[in-house]
Assembly symmetry: D2
């Protein structure tokens, strides 16, 4: 049994038309479904029904979904989640457009996590027969796929234990308060062989720091930054190199203030990977390796 | 249980000093051990004892090793391999420097595959505490890590079934002889969430087509090609884009004629990934998307 | 007085509709004028009326134009050209759409060179007021501008002397037959501070080897190669690094067989630059630094 | 007659050993001469004797030198400079190590500008015979060459007129206070065919904002930023895209506080180029196209 990847992020937006403009024209996602004040969108290199849901009214994370393997995985996770003390409920086909039955778990950090294996297959925009490496006619940045989310939690150590014990994630990089053995401030955890599929840092429960799209490489980040400027997208920081994950990054905001990231690079982890430790005195380098300054908005703004 | 990654490639070389010059100075690997006419080398971003073994005398693949998770994985694989009809033997600590007990399987393609979970940990050249994204003073290309091998087999369908049934690999891309449902000519299979950890195409049993190093991105390929030219390394083809895997590539030869690759990019797969099909009429595009010509040496030279 | 840059290339094409598809949709040039079986096109970052003219009927170079400064430059060039023994004639406004009076010179290599300073200004696609770095909605490769042409001549030394004495070009790189002081085989000459604005190699008089578009960088070449493959454009070679000029390159053909190049990079020259010498034994490295093989088509195909 | 390029920048540094460490090990320049508390350095792709002079004691610009063509250029410039009302004096061989006789002009902005054509030729680190595209064994960033300087002046319009009338520079981009015809706030001027060889913005007379090194491309900027972080070099801002010049950039400081830049890209100008106008309301986009915020240190710190 295994968690496969971040499947979708469901966020609130203050104005659906503006949000749609951002995710569709600037980021280049394709709308696949619309109902009840929600727009469902998919990136060009994703197979499943959608990866982002925009819901009008407010701002911030409604919930996110991770896709899991079938064959008893949901049952096993439910058992372990209950044993961990987390509240669970079964979710039903239709609760989310295109998604089948699944499990809804409230994390120790109060975030709502949905787990599912049954989701409508739409396929990528290049197909599965002699495909081109990318589709002509992409709009804006043309993001290929979502990659991870970073959330905040009052108790990072507890949430790390949850992801480890219940979902079999492993930490790739850990930020600690003082020396190497001190309290956990943040953790970047993976379920496959990339540096992170979920991350969290100390902060208020239930909040979203950002969710990220993976782009091809550092050159794609220059072009992404250009598009953001053309479209007057507010930037938090970047282009920059992360120390943590080694990735390239630009952080920016959707029109409602939800933070997005375009991310490139990283390294290969796996079940035998020994975690990297970042100490607080090097945290600025960990976040913005190039500049080594922590941007105040980056620390404070969550939705 | 799971196979984690390609751990090492053990090849014969006609002249150990020349080979060492190539892998150490041009590719930039670090020698970690030497005994009995064998040199063991590690790339800078690899944790385990070694990833390449050079053995003087001849040319071609001696064997390769894939690292697996512990806790019964080897037993489970042995059971399935025997049930598949493959001959297996236990290998002992010390058969390979730095590697513990394991399992040695003869593939249906006559290649020798070693599986192990116990291997000496040396750590990367940047360490695990507030690491830099790369180490200063790299030599030559400065390859970070090995990535996959491509071997040849008389019966691709059989070998695909072996990797699927015994090792739980899955095909990301499949090359078929005619239309979509025709005979399998080649398969690119993964155990994690990258496009391939092993690949094979129809050809003589027991032969190596190439083994590949992963580099950061397309820009790293330009620099790698420059270094190859400075060091008079024979190039097969590239820089080019692969259609299959979407990766960037340069194929080249070590002084003994073993083919190496530097590879960048790709996409994310996973347990739910539906394989891509390439038909023979588009094979040239699949191999060299940019140029769409199949280089004769690429098809014919194996070691 | 000075020559400013290659202004336009006027080529014959066997089929105007096919050629237009290539230059407009694959390369991404904008058609600006059409008359008498000729299509005039401009790249997005060029100011002047056009940089490519396609004329139906046959294949190969009709003529090319270099823009010069005003204020007596044409008179001075005419005097020197006549003194060199080259035949000259005045050309009139309207001989080329958008171009004013000028000078038409027959080179010692039998190519027709037009020189002019008066040309209709259209402006780039990003404008001159707070411009974006590139325009949204580019088609295909989206070439920014033409850069140079390479022609063939029976007498490279004579043509080099012509460009030096009459047009004040200087050689950046020179390919010689044997050792450093032997016969000239090719010359890469500049009028500004880039590595080349014209180049020529030994071959038949009056022929075009290729004309080149400058693109942003090595990453743009990967994308350009992808577009060529999608559009089934025949490739000669590349992506590769040139030894000569250090540029990145892909050589390819328009549907009539005229060779084009996309080119990136280079270095800075200037009036004090001392030329680089390439000896014939290193010519393959000079042309394709990465691969060090001279492609037979590259040597033989001219139009 | 013509100015060829920025030849050298001569700056004061508070601690020569620290400065040397920065320019030699982090930037990768080669020291070529040392005398009287001055270190002269050259970048690997520069031909002339030196391009940076470090002089112990204080901080800020001592003077800078632009190389000109021989044959009466210095006389012509002197005539025009005197006619403009600028004070001039002849400088002598030996005033600057490796540099011959020349002309020293005090700009209307109180900066000392030296003009010379006679300078010792040392050649690049790759030579002029079948050269490699770059030399092995570069240290740190491995900057190829200096590119331009940006200075401050109380009267930008006056200084622009000086550079235009006396030195035949032309403005590529102009920043104005209000609408398109309002007062000049800054000007980016060129003498060759790149976007700028000198630039200046409104500010105190006699001050240096930064001098810049040209690097290959956007990918080189990522690597440069990594090296800066490893060597604890303070960064002002970047990596970022400039709106003005379209270049990629990182601004940073030497240990004495003199601002440096690594710069890539740009476009091609020339004698017929019509200047671009930036209005003050878009100045932030002009400076940092990606982020559109003007960094306070960037505006205020000059040396």
């Amino acid at each position: 049994m295994a968690v496969i990847r971040l499947g979708y992020v469901h966020v609130r937006v203050t104005d659906l038309a503006q949000a749609r403009q951002h995710y569709q024209e600037t980021l280049g996602m394709d709308p696949v479904h619309e109902e009840d004040g929600r727009v469902y969108l998919k990136s060009w290199d994703e197979d499943d029904h959608h990866s982002v849901v925009l819901e009008e009214g407010g701002v911030g994370l409604v919930k996110f979904g991770y896709k899991v393997t079938g064959d008893g995985t949901l049952d096993a996770i439910e058992t372990r989640a209950r044993s961990f003390g987390a509240s669970c409920e079964r979710m039903s086909k239709g609760d989310n457009a295109g998604v089948g039955d699944g499990l809804r778990v409230t994390l120790p950090s109060d975030h709502v996590l949905e787990l599912y294996s049954d989701v409508e297959y739409l396929g990528t925009n290049v197909g599965k027969l002699n495909p081109a490496p990318w589709p002509r006619g992409l709009r804006g940045i043309g993001v290929p796929r979502i990659n991870h989310a970073l959330i905040t939690t009052e108790d990072p150590a507890l949430l790390e234990r949850f992801f480890q014990d219940v979902l079999a994630f492993r930490p790739a990089e850990r930020l600690v308060a003082g020396d190497e053995d001190s309290d956990l401030v943040g953790s970047w955890m993976y379920c496959g062989d990339q540096p992170h599929d979920i991350a969290f840092v100390k902060g208020a429960n239930g909040k979203l720091h950002h969710f990220a799209y993976e782009v091809d490489d550092w050159s794609a980040l220059l072009r992404a930054g250009d598009v953001m400027s053309m479209d007057d997208v507010p930037i938090d920081f970047g282009p920059a190199r992360h120390g943590i994950t080694r990735g390239g990054t630009i952080y920016f905001f959707d029109p409602s203030g939800n933070r997005n990231e375009v991310f490139s690079g990283g390294y290969r982890t796996g079940p035998d990977f020994r975690p990297i430790t970042w100490t607080m005195d090097q945290a600025a380098r960990g976040i913005n390796y190039t500049h080594r300054e922590i941007d105040q908005a980056f620390l404070e703004v969550v939705t």
